[in-house]
């Protein structure tokens, strides 16, 4: 049973959560939205937001065989990584189904950190045991915040942090008496600050104080989900079920449009044979949908000319596009951009009778992630 965990930033998120709207992810109690998800998502595009990301699963992998272990585990080669850099990769089941996706960051010659939106502790334990690698889950030992928006760099500079760091890079810093790690592992164009759990409140206050001139506000999980969907990022457990069976071949990297995270030239990653065999038999693919509606339609069936052709995954209202959008899986034959589909909208207080809305397949990402202004 997943324990109920409080984030190290809970004291601050609670005091800001005037709506008392909570949800949980990976066992952590997190604010759904502090004011409104749309306002917070929009603030991430116009000013700067601070978000609690302590729920992201992080496990440190260490030992003389860690490189060999990661060669087997991940779909990309970590060999060229220097300390301070990272890459995004997948790990597959024996049958080629996607079990997980995340960032792998090199801390030292025999030391890597795996960061992912969803836990896969049993698989990582099994794999590291085979190679004699130490796996240490540090999720509960640290807190993490994300600083996203055009004024993210200004905020960090005002707080005394040097924001000159490229995407997928990270640095360990001694920041005004605190040991922190500053990284850019996320998909939303921002920065992450990781600190010891006991230092979390200090870190939060410093960033909020530094960001006040730039109208910094806290963003809840719903706002992050909006930004994810706008960026075309599908997350495990939120949007798709990982391949939990050791031999599963679905979901395939092809279906989830994650083949860019597979190195074709790498011959020895787990599940490679299954992935290659399944490529030719995949029927569905990930697409982005713009709905002719303000009402999101999550996990709803999609039709074309009366025929069921797929279903939506996460669906949100995008303040940037001023309409509901969704990530969806549709049959390959119906996945071309500009294809018109029909989606069933869920009943609501305003519209208690179920009704359909038109939805058009659009290019992903819907919107590029906010770029920090230098």
């Amino acid at each position: 049973m997943t324990p109920i965990l409080a984030s190290p930033f809970h004291a601050r998120t609670a005091s800001s959560n005037i709506q008392n709207a909570w949800t949980s992810r990976n066992g952590f109690t997190l604010a759904t939205a502090y004011a409104s998800a749309s306002e917070e998502a929009l603030a991430a595009r116009t000013s700067v937001v601070i978000a609690d990301i302590s729920w992201r699963w992080r496990v440190m992998l260490q030992g003389p065989n860690v490189k060999v272990c990661l060669d087997r585990l991940l779909t990309r080669d970590v060999g060229p990584l220097e300390p301070g850099s990272s890459l995004k990769a997948l790990w597959l089941s024996d049958g080629g189904g996607v079990r997980g996706a995340g960032a792998i960051a090199r801390f030292g010659k025999e030391s890597f950190l795996l960061v992912s939106a969803a836990r896969d502790a049993r698989w990582i334990e099994m794999t590291t045991a085979l190679f004699g690698v130490r796996a240490h889950d540090i999720t509960l030992e640290q807190g993490g915040i994300s600083v996203v928006g055009p004024y993210a760099q200004h905020t960090l500079s005002a707080a005394g942090l040097d924001p000159e760091i490229e995407p997928l890079q990270f640095r360990k810093l001694f920041w005004r008496g605190l040991d922190v790690t500053l990284s850019r592992w996320g998909e939303l164009g921002g920065y992450e600050i990781w600190c010891g759990a006991e230092d979390a409140i200090i870190v939060w206050d410093r960033i909020v104080t530094a960001g006040t001139p730039f109208n910094i506000q806290p963003a809840g999980l719903s706002a992050l989900d909006v930004l994810d969907v706008e960026a075309g990022v599908a997350r495990p457990l939120r949007d798709w079920m990982p391949a939990n069976d050791g031999n599963a071949s679905i979901p395939s990297p092809f279906t989830l449009k994650l083949e860019r995270l597979i190195d074709d030239a790498k011959l020895d990653f787990n599940g490679r044979t299954g992935w290659i065999s399944s490529r030719s038999i995949q029927r569905r693919t990930l697409i982005g949908l713009e709905l002719e509606s303000d009402i999101p339609a999550p996990h709803a069936p999609l039709f074309r000319d009366g025929q069921l052709v797929g279903h939506t995954m996460t669906s949100v209202y995008s303040p940037g596009l001023r309409r509901a959008i969704a990530l969806a899986l549709v049959d390959l034959d119906h996945s071309a951009v500009a294809t018109k589909l029909t989606v069933s909208l869920p009943p609501s207080m305003e519209a208690p009778v179920p009704r359909d809305a038109a939805a058009w397949i659009g290019d992903l990402p819907f919107l590029n992630s906010p770029v920090p202004i230098a």
Partner: protein
């Protein structure tokens, strides 16, 4: 020196030799590599103490007749010294019970203890052998199509099945002994099917027979060596394979311990699957989930082999003139308890013993006027390695004490002894992987031979449905590889 072959066979035991011979006969340039200086695996003879010779294995009952025929082993000196050894059960206070191929004689023998069993034996034997023959397709060919319903015998433990058939404990014990070599307990699900596997086998053209090759199983292996060389196999002994070369998930050859690389499109390995994947291949190449599963092992008892040089035959060996297999255990329940104890690493109070006197049908095993008593001790803790000298003496004493309970004078006649503990056997010939009988006997040949690594085939004893000298796994592995047409 780097070289290229069509196929490399790692391991020169019976199955490795067979696989190599079949591949070479099919025109493939084949290399066989064996780490020991001797070929044949555990089909070897060990000389000890002034002219006595211990055959490491003292009988054959499952030689693949197709292998004997196809490779023309008779031309290379293979023949049987004893074709059909009956079973003699020496148990409790009863007279020894002889169970032989002659159903009438066996019925008459049973009449002394159980008229019911005496009347039932003939029909039982007829039906059991018939069903076993019908099940041969499952174990003798890669296609494995069987048209009989064997669900009942699959689900029933042997002791329960025998309980429903017979009264005589000695008779039930005789039948239960036939499955002990497989590591299976008579109380285990699948043990009745295990008995039917045993009854399905053939030796010297006789179904369910137990035979002794002239010169011992070592001569069978020797004939295979000659056949393999005659077919064109290149043989290298005293050479250890350090690892199997892989490109992604397919084999490309092997690297020897001296660093030499030899390339080939297929590699046949006669070690166990677990040992092969643990020692010769990159970690988790077969998949992380598969690798984690394979680290789970099924506890099974070990087997010890003893040989005693005697200056006279013991009295009980006069039954059938010594030309038999003698089973010694107090009763069936003791056999089951012994298996259970050894399975969980405890030395049983009473040891199930199988005795054979090879010197009676082949004089080469003992000096003139003397005899060799070859003993298989079933149900010994697998971890018994004899590293402490006391352990060997203790086992010898325990075995002799068990025989002496029936033949008090045996100790006087023992002139020499030699012991191979379970640890010795696995150190010399490799560990046998174990699996429950029900799974082992119903798994397909493809599942046992094929691997997730393209071009790698398991051809050794652990690819057989049951532990036995056979050659069948080697033949079928070669056939499967040739059918795939990689080379």
């Amino acid at each position: 020196m780097n070289d290229t072959f069509d196929a490399i066979v790692v391991g020169g035991d019976v199955n490795g030799l067979t696989a190599a011979a079949y591949l070479a006969r099919a025109g493939r340039k084949t290399l066989l590599v064996e780490p020991r200086n001797e070929l044949g695996g555990d089909c070897e003879n060990i000389a000890f103490s002034d002219g006595f010779v211990m055959p490491v294995l003292h009988e054959v009952h499952a030689l693949d007749p197709q292998v004997v025929r196809d490779l023309k082993l008779a031309r290379f000196g293979f023949r049987l010294a004893a074709r059909d050894l009956p079973a003699v059960v020496i148990s409790g206070a009863q007279q020894p019970l002889v169970v032989s191929r002659d159903a009438f004689l066996t019925s008459r023998n049973l009449g002394g203890t159980s008229r019911v069993d005496s009347e039932a034996w003939g029909i039982f034997r007829y039906k059991a052998l018939g069903l076993a023959r019908a099940l041969r397709a499952m174990w003798w060919s890669a296609e494995q199509r069987v048209d009989v319903d064997f669900d009942q015998i699959l689900r029933l433990p042997l002791i329960t099945w025998l309980e429903s058939k017979f009264e005589s404990d000695a008779l039930k014990t005789a039948l239960a002994f036939e499955i002990l070599e497989s590591g299976c307990s008579p109380a285990e699900i699948g043990s009745t099917l295990q008995l039917h596997w045993r009854l399905a086998q053939e030796a010297g053209g006789l179904q369910a027979a137990c035979a002794f090759p002239a010169g011992g199983p070592a001569k069978f292996a020797e004939a295979l060596v000659h056949a393999a060389r005659a077919a064109g196999v290149t043989v290298r002994t005293g050479v250890r394979v350090d690892r199997i070369i892989t490109l992604g998930c397919r084999v490309a050859g092997v690297v020897l311990a001296n660093g030499e690389e030899i390339f080939a499109r297929m590699v046949h390995c006669s070690a166990s699957r677990a040992e092969t994947f643990a020692s010769l291949l990159p970690t988790a190449i077969e998949g992380i989930a598969h690798s984690a599963d394979s680290t789970v092992s099924w506890p099974a008892p070990g087997i010890a082999r003893l040989a005693f040089g005697l200056d006279a035959l013991p009295e009980f060996a006069s039954t059938n003139d010594g030309k038999a297999r003698y089973f010694i255990i107090d009763r069936l329940a003791s056999l089951v308890s012994a298996h259970s104890a050894a399975q969980f690493d405890q030395m049983p109070d009473e040891l199930p013993l199988e005795l054979v006197f090879p010197s009676i049908f082949d004089r080469s095993f003992a000096p003139i006027g003397q005899h060799l008593m070859s003993v298989t001790v079933y149900a010994v803790p697998r971890t018994t390695d004899g590293s402490s000298a006391g352990m060997r003496e203790s086992l010898v004493a325990k075995v002799l004490a068990a025989i002496a309970r029936r033949v008090p004078e045996i100790t006087r006649h023992v002139k020499a002894s030699h012991v191979l503990m379970p640890g010795d056997l696995s150190a010399r010939y490799g560990m046998d992987a174990t699996m429950p009988a029900a799974i082992r006997l119903c798994t397909t040949w493809a599942d046992r031979i094929m691997t997730p690594v393209d071009g790698l085939y398991m051809c050794g004893r652990t690819a057989e449905p049951s532990r036995a000298i056979s050659g069948r796994a080697g033949r079928i592995a070669a056939e499967m590889a040739l059918q795939r047409g990689l080379v």
